[in-house]
Amino acid sequence: MAPAAPQAAARDAAPADGTDWEGVRLHVVTGKGGTGKTTVAAALALALAEDGRRTLLVEVEGRQGLAQLFDTDPLPHEERKIAAAPGGGEVLALAIDVEQALLEYLEMFYRVGRAGKALRKLGAIDFATTIAPGLRDVLLTGRAIEAVKRKTGDVPVYDAVVMDAPPTGRITRFLNVNTELAGLARFGPIHNQAQSVMRQLKSPQTAVHLVTLLEEMPTQETVDGAAELTAAGLPVGGVFVNMVRPSLLDEAALEAAAGGHRADVATALDGLVGGGDAPSDELVDALLDQAREHAQRVVLEREQRSAVREMGRPWYELPLLADGVDTGGLYALATELRRQGVA
């Protein structure tokens, strides 16, 4: 059906015995609003942490979505353990506070000490993080990349860092804004920082994953988003199809439902649902209508699935968790991701 689309930028030298993202240290997770990218990011961090590994889950938009998801108190600007992964692994989480990140940064380069507090009080920190559209983003991505690179001795502190990133509509600008900033602050440490962040983001150690649903708009946005990222030289990762609903009718039943079969269905239902009597016409019609609606949905979903497939990226499917996502659901999703070869 789908032609074999050329694989965009397959990572070079992935070990033959590896999982899909061997060698990737920074996983940036984006997606259209409402597709569940925070959930997918968290499940991915859990999956990557299994078997004694350690991952860091980073939140950049100050929404405290991770705290909500893991049902904990609001996360501070500090890496702390948020979940244990099966096999002795652990997931830490960090909600980056931009102003705090800038102060850390100033401290690192200029040893501002207590003057930092004064700067904050004056509004200078707020000013700086607000005024330069790219500065904010450099600080956010820079902080995540710092965690990627941090080592104890020769061993990286984290096996992988997963970022719950801004939505697809803003992701390219968010990641690429370093270039924008680099154009603004033409010299100095921020400029250098931006350059280094950009290099890391464009390296094979980074993958930008897209979360979508089997619906037209999210899929279209995913296809467009991937094209934008590629055009900007950013490494597109996998496509995570989220909230996939089970299809309850098989192919034959779908076709049959489209054909009607009113009389046969009524006969088959005789005595089963009408309180011992034949089913009412209304009931049979209602059931057949529902089946037709369902068939329509299945066809639509099939089209979206083809569109995802044609992107030529590794793709994964996660089931809809009917009651919303809680911690137990997250572990189930992580298991599913591992099974599908993510980690």
């Binding site: 074999a4 694989q7 397959a10 992935a14 089970p246 309850l248 034959a252 039943a253 529902q290």
Partner: protein, 509 residues
């Protein structure tokens, strides 16, 4: 519990006092479609209406027959004008809107200087609150023309629904704020006494910022503020004006949500915030709500009947055999916690190589084996022989197969192949296959009926869940009027689709 009051959408749209309708809510709940559908309905009911959308999706433009939406209202053809109304639509171009403000308020030379200022360029294109600010600015402009009976606006896809209310103020207070005044003081003639007092400290601060941002950028900022300040008469003032416009009695906020836990929690949060800010809330639009024409048949009875039918044709799971997909479905729908089922059932099968065992990276594997992406999800037939030493991607395929969830996906949903469902042959004399309207081979009326019943059972469970979610919301906000919009099976592509949504918005209870 007392049901929520019903939101009378037509009364709202028809009321000449209603001048602005703001659709807000978290992402992915159908805000933009709701706004467009309301626009079509209001226009066809006689009001001269403009829809202002912030969503960059081309689809909305297409659904209204426009190839391109730009920063000026375009007339939408095909909307019935018999009632005396008209529909226009436009999409916000935030940079263009910002440019227009500059051009309208400065003489050409100065306007050019501002437009070319690097700081202005990044501010107008990228500032976190610019889009929200410009949306409000545009709304204010549209309102000021007096041309429109009704303006329908959707809100930007923000980090959170609250950004929309906060951002204009944030940009306003930022550009008008203390620090920026201090910063830009040297660029002004004279300065103020307080500034002189702060001068020494400022040098330190400015130099620190200069180190971080680069001195060029600071200069750009100073030039920009100096050039724009008189012209704008203060961003803060403009932000305040828009804010007041939103609070005015002619404005109606609609909070749009889906009947899911997270979306409704966000909606509740937003309702509170609107109340706090004294913004006039018209009600809650609950999108994609499920219903049924057969409410009398409960999920339990439907499931039981389906089971009876399947047993009758021998399609049920046989003891000791591999689970048939119908059993999987049974599990999936038997409890509202389908996720738990899936979680507990997805334990690693015995023949799973397990973690740590070599596994082909699917991306490369799929590509390398030459079979292309089509092989990623394989036909059930071929995938059921896991021993087959096939190309690398099959390795992964086995994993997918072994997952119950994936099995569900594979055997039931994938590309249009006829289903190879592991069921018993159709019993002799069973009805089906020979009815006049039948065009499909392999059809069994008993199994079809069972499928319909399972579908119905699932529908009833979904409805039940949605009802509970909704009741929680209403318990917290008993006075918020609600309109429930039935789910459409597909996306909206044209005016008829928008009309259908409009009908549902007006009729839903």
């Amino acid at each position: 519990m007392r049901p929520a009051p019903r939101l009378d959408m037509d009364a709202l749209l028809d009321d000449p006092r209603t001048r602005i309708v703001v659709c807000c809510g978290s992402g992915g709940v159908g805000k933009t479609t709701t706004a467009a559908a309301l626009g079509v309905r209001a226009a066809e009911r006689g009001r001269r209406t403009v829809v202002l959308t912030i969503d960059p999706a081309r689809r909305l433009a297409q659904s209204m027959g426009l190839t391109e939406l730009d920063n000026t209202p375009r007339r939408v053809e095909g909307v019935k004008t018999s009632a005396g109304g008209e529909l226009f639509a436009m999409m916000l171009d935030m940079k263009r809107t910002f440019d227009e403000i500059v051009e309208a308020h400065a003489d050409p030379a100065r306007a050019r200087a501002i437009l070319e200022n690097p700081f202005y360029q990044s501010l107008s294109a990228g500032f976190a609150g610019t889009q929200e600010y410009m949306a409000m600015e545009k709304l204010g402009q549209l309102q000021a023309t007096g041309e429109w009976d009704l303006i329908v606006v959707d809100t930007p896809p923000s980090r959170s629904a609250l950004d929309f209310l906060d951002a204009p103020d944030r940009l306003g207070s930022f550009l008008d704020g203390r620090f920026i005044r201090i910063m830009t003081a040297p660029a002004k003639v004279g300065g103020r006494s307080m500034m002189r007092f702060l001068d020494v400290g400022m040098t330190v601060v400015t130099s620190a910022l200069g180190k971080v941002l680069g001195t060029q950028m600071l200069q750009d900022v100073q030039t920009f503020i100096a050039a724009t300040e008189s012209m704008f008469g203060g961003f803060r003032e403009r932000a305040d004006a828009t804010y007041r416009l939103l609070q005015a009695p002619g404005t109606a906020f609609l909070v749009v949500a889906a009947p899911e836990r997270d979306a409704l929690r966000e909606a509740a949060y937003f309702v509170d915030r609107l109340a706090e800010d004294a913004m006039p809330l018209a009600g809650l639009v609950l999108n994609r709500v499920h219903g049924t024409e057969a409410p009398g048949l409960s999920a339990e009875r439907a499931s039981a009947a389906a089971e009876a039918l399947e047993e009758a044709v021998g399609a049920g799971p046989e003891p000791g055999s591999e689970k048939s997909s119908s059993a999987v479905v049974d599990k999936a729908i038997a409890s509202t916690g389908a996720d738990r089922e899936f979680s507990s059932e997805s334990a690693v099968p015995e023949d799973d190589p397990g973690p740590g065992t070599p596994r082909k990276p699917s991306g490369e594997g799929v590509n390398d084996d030459g079979a292309g992406q089509t092989s990623k999800r394989m036909p059930p037939g071929s995938a059921t022989s896991p021993e087959d030493p096939g190309p690398a991607s099959e390795d992964r395929e086995q994993h997918l197969q072994q997952s119950q969830f994936s099995q569900l996906q594979n055997t039931r949903q994938d590309s249009g192949r006829p289903e190879a469902r592991p069921t018993a042959p159709r019993p002799e004399g069973a009805p089906g296959g020979d009815s006049p309207d039948d065009g499909s081979p392999g059809y069994d009326a008993g199994l079809l009926a069972a499928g319909l019943l399972r579908l119905h059972a699932e529908r009833m469970q979904v409805m039940d869940r949605e009802r509970r979610t909704r009741e929680r919301f209403t318990a917290m906000h008993p006075d918020v009027a609600v309109v429930a919009v039935p789910a459409l099976p597909g996306d909206v592509h044209d005016l008829d689709g928008l009309r259908a949504i409009g009908d549902r918005l007006a009729e839903g209870g």
